[in-house]
Symmetry: C2
Subunit: 230 residues, 2 copies
DNA sequence: TGTACATCAGTGAACGCGCGTTCACTGATGTAC
DNA sequence: TGTACATCAGTGAACGCGCGTTCACTGATGTAC
């Protein structure tokens, strides 16, 4: 095995170990020394592979975003009838929710409180954008379908229109502002529900998280006008 | 000043200092030693007032929940026409959002990732319940008003009905399940929006957070059937 | 009202721990001629 | 094909730091008679 191959493999081993630690102790308690110990290296040796703890953290963040992105895209692609936007929407929501429950510490790293002293570099942006991308793709397709049978939407004034200017560059085909607001509500609801659930705020209130999540996302799909008979 | 009075005052001083540190460095970086230093005490002296770091943390959590609870209840009570449920709902939503933006680290402590190694005791439950209580009160009053002009709701099946059993004990007057789901969506949306905003996920996407939040909560109020002409 | 004793606040040193990062060094792997 | 040199991986010790918690002790404040 060449030096270069070895390097790739050891880098991967370190990151895998780090990922395992992340899943066990959470982002705040992640320790470079503990990871090195577990790999069977002295802590200073890790610096040959990651210039600092923050770079290792960045690698983990990108990995987690990509994993979630994969799950979401796979869920979407798994729906045969591409015109069944409701089914695709629900598949995407479930993918997020399922991944979060299976990987709570990773979810907390991505969507929980920021890690103190750490600022995510721009490297993480493309990976992070995959999840929102799935929502936006559905929004555009739904818009193209035309006949809108969703819940009535409030008119959008000029301040809000300007506030949404940041979203538009991510779109290839236009989505009307009032409907975009509904998609953003769906986005906030899915992540809000997941965070409230995972961080313990539904404890003893909602007795069946999956049932409730299904009801909620079903309602969102209806509000978005996705559940219509073809 | 008596010993007892002194004790109360110093306990308060410690907690106030802790609170200031929390606001500056966030929950994860909160240090008992640093707080003691700032108060002008040796770190071991703090143990006369708080048996451990976790108890101090609990006190801060309760304080923060109560502060948010105060803000929410004050906002609700500030609306003169008690039958204007839309206005009251928007006041409550804004109170949460405003408090979170003014106290981001405190918000993260309450609604962000759990602090590693810390489990909130039951002491925190009543304070935490005040915020959700405001939503539930509005839900009940809206239900009593009767004429429901909100967006159409999806039927609730038996699994979801059972899942909602945990919410019912908190109610004095009944709320129909399908409408309760909408109130829970509103709850998830408000906290989801706030978390996504504060934790940086709307950065460069939404250009005016307040405008967008207003649009979103306005839409929620309409979906809940609160914005009707009397 | 004064004295003897008990209670309590706060000190300072210590324990035992862990962290991220740097640096001089050894020994193995690669490269150029 | 063999040798001289450069590159690189990994070591081990150290730096400097901070943390929560315990404990024997001093000196002040309270209480009972």
């Amino acid at each position: 095995m060449s030096r270069a191959e070895n390097r790739v493999e050891i880098t991967r081993t370190i990151q895998e170990t780090a990922r395992r630690h992340l899943a066990e102790v959470g982002p705040a308690a992640l320790s470079l020394r503990a990871i090195a110990r577990d790999v069977g290296m002295v802590s200073s040796a890790v610096y040959r592979y990651f210039p600092s703890r923050d770079d290792l953290l960045t690698a983990l963040i990108v990995e987690a975003y990509d994993e979630l992105g994969d799950a979401v895209e796979r869920a979407d692609a798994g729906v045969r009838r591409r015109t069944d936007l409701a089914k695709r929407f629900l598949a995407v929501c479930d993918a997020i929710h399922d991944w979060a429950r299976a990987n709570p510490h990773e979810y907390a790293l991505l969507y929980g409180s920021p890690v103190p002293g750490y600022a995510a570099p721009d490297t993480t942006v493309p990976a992070a954008a995959r999840v929102t991308g799935a929502f936006l793709r559905l929004a555009q397709e739904s818009e193209r379908e035309g006949d809108d049978l969703g819940a009535p939407t409030r008119a959008v004034g000029s301040t809000e229109r300007k506030a949404l200017d940041g979203v538009r560059p991510a779109l290839e085909s236009p989505v009307a502002d009032d409907r975009m607001v509904r998609w953003l509500i769906a986005w906030s609801t899915v992540f809000g529900h997941t965070s409230l659930e995972l961080f313990g705020h539904m404890h003893r209130g909602i007795l069946d998280y999956d049932a409730h999540f299904a009801q909620v996302t079903g309602q969102l799909a209806a509000d978005l006008g996705l559940t219509r008979v073809p």
